[in-house]
């Protein structure tokens, strides 16, 4: 790809890296990623991927910006309270980097629409905040063979994992079923220190760039757990489960079924 003078300057700190160069930057520019959620995780993920020059970023979210989001959701601002999150996100990201095409999708992912949405994208990134979506996205990515970066945050702890269907584990190899309602924290218990999604989302963006570049090792068969209070990172091995209901030898989930649950989504 031919870079403009401005692009040479904008991406110079990438181009200088032996692992990236002009060829790696061209891969980044050609990449298409699908991001679920324009919230705490989706903010740093999309911010860094747009800054890096990822060619097309689709963002799906059905929510509007609320004042209580601004303590951590850095895509949005006091001026965009009440605006659809995907529209607020699009404006922020286009201002950051006009090279990037932002596709804003104000919708809720369902078993009926998700496969159609992700089919034209290379990588899926889950920045959602609830279990039904996490399982839906996992199953959709395994069924359609799309690499998936999955992240989660609560209070002072975050988790990141990278799912490459067929090569490694999936989310259900780790936790086969959604936790029962009683084990999911209620709204009052579900606080989060604002920087935490920045760290976990930053790790997810880094995993995505490494997949695009084909460099380094990603979190295949591994769950990374970050304990913010103790400043501790821990890697836990997650072997691929041959009996996994979605990615195992004889999967019982071959179509997307029902993912409804009455969790608190605040």
């Amino acid at each position: 790809m031919e870079f403009t003078d401005d692009q040479v300057i904008r991406y110079s700190r990438h181009i200088i890296l032996p692992e990236v160069g002009g060829k790696g930057q061209a891969k980044i520019s050609a990449a298409k990623v699908f991001l679920i959620g324009a919230g705490g995780l989706g903010s740093p993920i999309s911010y860094y991927l747009a800054a890096a020059g990822v060619g097309r970023i689709a963002i799906v979210d059905d929510d509007v910006v609320d004042l209580s989001n601004l303590q951590r959701q850095i895509l949005h601002s006091t001026k965009t309270v009440g605006v659809a999150k995907v529209e607020s996100a699009k404006a922020t990201l286009e201002a950051l980097n006009p090279d990037v095409e932002i596709i804003a999708i104000k919708d809720r992912l369902t078993p009926e629409n998700i496969l159609g949405y992700i089919k034209d994208y290379d990588i899926v990134i889950d920045g959602s905040d609830n279990f039904p979506t996490r399982y839906l996205v996992n199953d959709a990515c395994v069924i359609s063979g799309k690499p998936l970066s999955s992240g989660a945050v609560l209070k002072f702890e975050g988790q990141v994992t990278t799912i490459i269907p067929k090569e490694g584990h999936c989310y259900r190899c780790l936790f086969e079923e959604m936790p029962p309602d009683g084990l999911v924290p209620s709204c009052q218990e579900g606080g989060v220190l604002g920087v935490l999604p920045g760290i976990i989302g930053g790790l997810q963006a880094m995993e995505v760039l490494k997949i695009i570049l084909g460099k380094g090792d990603v979190l295949i068969n591994t769950l990374l757990i970050y304990d913010a209070l103790r400043t501790n990172f821990r890697k836990v091995k997650v072997p691929k489960n041959p009996e996994c209901p979605v990615c195992g030898k004889t999967p019982s989930i071959t179509k997307l079924g029902n993912y409804e649950a009455n969790y608190c989504r605040a």
Binding site: V8, S12, R13, I15, I16, P18, G21, K23
Partner: protein, 82 residues
């Protein structure tokens, strides 16, 4: 007696400062084939030292570094790896 080196490509990056001297040189070299030779004409003093060093670190071969007049240098590099 030394064999004369005939560059496959020449670039004039006079006026550019670091790190763009290296960025431009690297992008040009990336688009060339292994074994080909690039001649770089530059006038940013620091780059006469940093470009040969960075190119070597990236696995390329620096053939010559020559100050050709009061202000300008010519660096000749052979592409050894992609």
């Amino acid at each position: 007696m030394e064999e004369e080196i005939i560059p496959d490509k020449r670039i004039d990056i006079r006026g550019l400062k670091c790190p763009y001297t290296f960025v431009r040189s690297k992008l040009t070299l990336e688009a060339m084939n292994t074994g080909e030779v690039l001649e770089i004409l530059l006038d940013y003093p620091e780059a006469s030292i940093s470009i040969p060093k960075s190119m070597q670190d990236h696995g390329q071969r620096v053939l010559t570094v020559e100050k050709v007049n009061d202000k300008d240098w010519i660096i000749i590099i052979r592409k050894e790896k992609d």
